[in-house]
Amino acid sequence: MDDRQFILSSSPHIHSGESTPRIMYSVVAALVPAMFMGVYLFGLRALWVILLSVAAGLATEAGAQRVMGRKVTISDGSAVVTGILLALNLPPTVPWWLVVVGSAIAIVVGKQIYGGLGYNPFNPALVARVILLISFPVQMTTWVKPSPLFSGAADAVTTATPLGAMKTYLMVKGTLQGFIMGELWNPFIGNIGGCIGETSVIALLIGAGFLLYRGYISWHIPVTFIGMVFILSGLFWLINPDQYMSPFFHILTGGLMLGAFYMATDMVTSPVTTRGMMVFGAGCGAITIIIRIFGGYPEGVSYSILLMNAATPLIDRYMRPKTFGWKTVSSR
């Protein structure tokens, strides 16, 4: 028995079984309803965009890691998540090469140049989306009316997003009087113009419910984010409904649901403490409304998240939890 070899290691000796790939593929699963609705509403084209974005993301990640002499870790699922999120943030009509360029930017500029997964300060998919938006404004803001699969509707009728339509109307007329908002039911199921994955609130909520149930996201960021958008837009609307849209319009349109539940909650780029998450979410909400109401762009979710990403290290520093026993000392 003496020559028996045992494994030696530091405690603890059991583990919850949680793992990075499990988290990543759970996010993928949570995005299935949104992807389904994207394809249903905008046609098979949307499916190709998603698949191309994922494939390009995986290829870029493998290539970048090989060039840098790092271990290739594409099976951890993080590039798949980034690829899907980027695709869901693109208009359905986007040309194929733009998808490839965007996906490569997300992986290289968004993630790998910082050292790979876990080290990137900004959400990779949003970095790519914003670079594309600035570089290819026309392709990135050409929207079409949803034409559900098998509905026999004609293809590709261009339209504006509700937020874009509102902004234009306000600019032209100087007032929102007479602006037809339409049924809020439409953005709830997704029957509006917009990015592939952002239009269907119900699909996004189903996936978010799954992530909340599994504990991979907590309520702190989405609730403070959406809550802040609701409160601020509500205040403006109460002050002057001729100039500002109702808070329900604001929370149901644009990229808010996608951003609040899937992008702002990105673990790597958001604060690690619950108090920090609430500050982060509230900040995202405030910046979103400032951009939507006072900015040149109709939509501000992407920028708000990126700006708050930059503030994350600072938030983590100031929102540090008080060590157990701290109260007792200060009261002595």
């Binding site: 028996r4 045992f6 949680e18 793992s19 790597v268 690690v272 002595r332």
Partner: protein, 442 residues
């Protein structure tokens, strides 16, 4: 009535109390024992015997040196074979007395029982507790008489009897509460008398309803003792977390002790040992150890003599049942993995967990994805992931500023980490370094 857990963080791993229905089994007298001279936190003992000496069961073989130190005694009668370095559960060879049995197992004639022990003064009680080698038997092995001697300026109003046994797998305290509850209660009353405290709380996790019922029945007519059922939550049995749950008091950070908030906590096994020491004059030469895990044939709760090699205990449970990965002394959360089966049972050995190779968690770590799970799981309310980065880069000043010394090494952060970063190991390293620097500066 269930008490809510009030401490932040914590986890609930699978309880795995597979040995809870196995009654305590007396082991045969071992042929040979190795009695380490250091089985407690504090100064090691000095050997008081030499090779060739004949000793009887209960004879002192190691003399306490200094206040934070206790005696050790011969667990069997026989001949001292050698004094030297032997494998120790802490992971390195340490001085120990090796005794070979004479097969007689005769008691020393120096035992001093006390019929009316409640007439003894607190000082006399503590003196006996120290002489009989009593240490905390929950695992930390801190000398009990020291804990029972708080400085005068600390007012102690509550005594907590810790029967939480929150580590998965371990059932030694559970069985003791079922089978020898009277000795625990008597021990608690002795400890409370020596502290001058008249409020005692017996704390048991609600996964041991039979123990709760038993204790409630026995304390019905004792107004100063109350039994409280705790919600199952690891590390509910850790002193600071237990005090927080029961009394909503927080032991001050950075080196605070339970006595700073008016509390002394003792494990149920320790109290039983105190009773036996005072009433019958029995030194601490045996303890109950749970031998468990799917790597042993029949998990059991054994009453083993101190110094018995763990190999003998595993044999008493039918040996290994499969290819073994780890042999752990203690529980799966805080136990120490062993390199040798020669290692003896010591006063703090609450369990031996045999983990099959198939159950061993592989240590491949990924980059931190900043999920924050470790922060939410930390009962000390620290930021383990940040501290781990400081530890990896030897940034000890920063680690100190982020209170690394308050880490209780419970393992919750490690358990939940999806990237499988060895957080406890890193924090332990930084903590040791910070404490060493503080000592040097002082």
């Amino acid at each position: 009535m269930k008490v809510r857990y009030l401490f932040g963080g914590g986890i609930h791993p699978s309880e795995q109390k597979i040995s809870q229905d196995a009654p305590i089994e007396e082991m045969e007298v071992p042929e040979r024992v190795v009695v380490p001279l250091s089985q407690h936190i504090g100064a090691p003992c000095e050997a008081t015997v030499s090779p060739g000496d004949r000793v009887k069961k209960g004879d002192r073989v190691g003399q306490a040196t200094g206040f934070v130190s206790v005696n050790v005694h011969a667990p069997i009668s026989g001949v001292v074979k050698s004094i030297g370095l032997f494998p120790h559960p802490l992971g390195r060879p340490l001085p120990a007395v090796e005794i070979e049995s004479d097969g007689e197992d005769t008691w020393t004639d120096r035992l001093k029982p006390h019929e009316d022990y409640m007439d003894l003064s607190p000082e006399e009680l503590k003196e006996i507790i120290r002489d009989m080698g009593i240490v905390g038997m929950g695992g930390a092995a801190f000398p009990t008489h020291v804990k029972l001697s708080p400085p005068k300026e600390k007012t102690i109003d509550t005594f907590i009897i810790n029967g939480a046994e929150c580590e998965p797998y371990l059932t030694a305290d559970h069985r003791l509460m079922l089978e020898e509850a009277e000795s625990i209660i008597a021990g608690a009353r002795i400890a409370m008398r020596s502290l001058g405290v008249d409020r005692g709380i017996i704390a048991i996790e609600s996964n041991k309803p039979d123990a709760i019922e038993k204790m409630r029945g026995l304390t019905e007519d004792i107004p100063e003792l109350e039994v409280v059922a705790l919600r199952v939550r690891y590390p509910q049995g850790a002193e600071k977390q237990l005090i927080k749950t029961l009394l909503n008091r927080e032991v001050p950070f950075s080196g605070g002790l339970p006595m700073d908030v008016g509390v002394i906590v003792q494990n149920v096994g320790t109290l039983s040992a105190i009773y036996k020491a005072i009433r019958f004059g029995l030194p601490l030469i045996e303890r109950i150890t749970t031998v468990t895990g799917s790597g042993v044939h029949t998990p059991k709760n054994l009453r083993a003599r101190i110094g018995t090699p763990i190999e003998v205990l595993i044999e008493a449970c039918g040996g290994f049942s499969t290819e073994v990965g780890k042999v752990i002394i203690g529980g799966p959360m805080m136990g120490v993995s062993q390199y040798s089966l020669e290692v003896p049972v010591v006063k703090g050995t609450s369990g031996i967990l045999v983990q099959p190779l198939s159950e061993v968690e592989e240590g491949v770590d990924h980059p931190c994805i900043r999920c924050g799970s470790c922060i939410r799981a930390c009962p000390a309310l620290l930021m383990p992931t940040i501290l781990a980065v400081f530890a990896q880069r030897d940034m000890f000043k920063e680690a100190e500023r982020y209170d690394v010394v308050d880490c209780i090494e419970c393992g919750c952060c490690d358990y939940v980490c999806p990237a499988r970063i060895p957080l406890v190991q890193l924090l332990r390293y930084a903590k040791a370094e910070v404490l060493a620097r503080r000592k040097k500066a002082a």
